[in-house]
């Protein structure tokens, strides 16, 4: 069984999307299934009556619901609101879904780091949510390691129940 990871993060600029794609690539190389929202093909439905928000919601919520873990990139002057909302949804679904292992947050931004960083720190509620369901990392390698650990755990559980 392959761990399915939802990669959440700001994806509004070409370089942010490149970084999110790189995260997905690093995970795939470790044998993990990564969902990166901007990479997912949006099925073209003729005369789709749904709003843009509803289409994004349907697409991303389905992926969060079936994921076993979340990689949440917290970079930015504050946590991107879409990312923060996805962290919240994942946390709530995890409460009644034992196949959800947890949240790995990746924070590299100088602006949300305590001194010597120049920021006001991460939002305490978001950080509390992440720490309750997982951990905070400062490099992609460290984050990938934790996800690989959950992948091994998931496979061990499957093997013992098979």
């Amino acid at each position: 069984m392959t761990l399915k990871v939802y990669c959440a993060g700001p994806l509004f600029t070409p370089y942010e999307r490149d970084f999110m794609s790189k995260c997905g690539q690093v995970l795939r190389e470790a044998g993990i299934k990564a969902f990166v929202p901007h990479e997912s093909p949006k099925p073209k439905v003729p005369n789709d009556p749904r709003s843009a928000a509803k289409r994004v919601f349907d697409n991303d919520l389905a992926a969060i619901a079936e994921s076993n873990a979340m990689l949440a990139v917290l970079n930015g002057p504050e946590v991107d609101d879409g990312t923060a909302c996805e962290i919240g949804v994942f946390w709530a679904l995890k409460q009644s879904d034992p196949s959800k292992k947890g949240i790995v947050a990746l924070q590299q931004d100088w602006r949300t780091q305590e001194p010597p960083g120049e920021g006001k720190g991460l939002n305490a509620f978001v950080l509390g949510c992440v720490l309750q369901a997982g951990l905070l990392c400062h490099s992609l390698e460290e984050a990938a390691q934790q996800l690989a650990f959950w992948q091994a755990e998931l496979q061990a559980t499957k093997a013992s129940t098979a």
Partner: protein
């Protein structure tokens, strides 16, 4: 009906704005959980006396407050003053004798408020939806999917950068907008928010 009042509560004026509207909700029989009020320390007169004796608080700090007409009011002013000094970092929580406030304790306390709420009012103002508020919106929606006592989310936008785009998604993140519209809607006026909450309150009472 209980609601959770989410918003960017980092400045005195936003806290006052949220507290004042929470008070209006109480007058309409709605019970709001207001995060900054929930973590507000109970500062007793004994604590104020001790801080004065230790020289951590100065009599002149209290001058204005001590002119208050009753002991109860004086107590409340001192309470607010000490709370404000703690927020500014002029006093530590340990000096006041309060338990530490960590991401874990803040999350636990607010999460309790979200779990017991029947609805959320989310103030969406700012250059983006405040990250804490966005996270709370996500948690509430996730819980609502499995809890019929949870009615929905009323977004509230007073920020003109958002209200002038009301017909084009309010200028907010599409995923956050999608979550709100899945179980509620965004209002530019508090009257709209209140009307929605009253509808949900009636539905809850009818279902009981």
């Amino acid at each position: 009906m209980k609601i959770y009042f989410a918003g960017p509560l980092f400045t005195p004026y936003v806290r006052q704005f949220i507290s004042a509207h929470a008070q209006i909700l109480r007058e309409h029989g709605i019970d709001p959980f207001v995060p900054h009020e929930a973590v507000q320390p109970a500062v007793t007169p004994d604590i104020v006396d001790r801080l004065l004796k230790q020289g951590l608080l100065h009599p002149q700090d209290l001058t204005e407050q001590s002119a208050a007409p009753s002991a109860a009011l004086r107590g409340r002013f001192a309470d607010d003053l000490v709370t404000e000094l703690v927020r500014r970092g002029a006093l530590t929580r340990a000096q006041v004798g309060l338990p530490p406030l960590t991401p874990a304790t803040i999350f636990a306390k607010d999460c309790e408020g979200l779990s017991s709420a029947n609805a959320v009012v989310a103030l969406l103002d700012g250059t983006q939806v405040d990250d804490g508020t966005a996270c709370e919106i996500g948690i509430f929606y996730g819980l609502l999917r499995q809890d019929r006592r949870k009615k929905g989310i009323a977004g509230w936008m007073t920020d003109f950068r958002g209200t002038r785009r009301a017909d084009r998604g309010w200028g907010i993140n599409l995923f956050v907008l999608g979550v709100i519209e899945e179980c509620g809607q965004i209002f530019a006026s508090f009257e709209g928010v209140l009307k929605q909450l009253k509808t949900w309150k009636r539905e809850l009472e009818e279902a009981a």
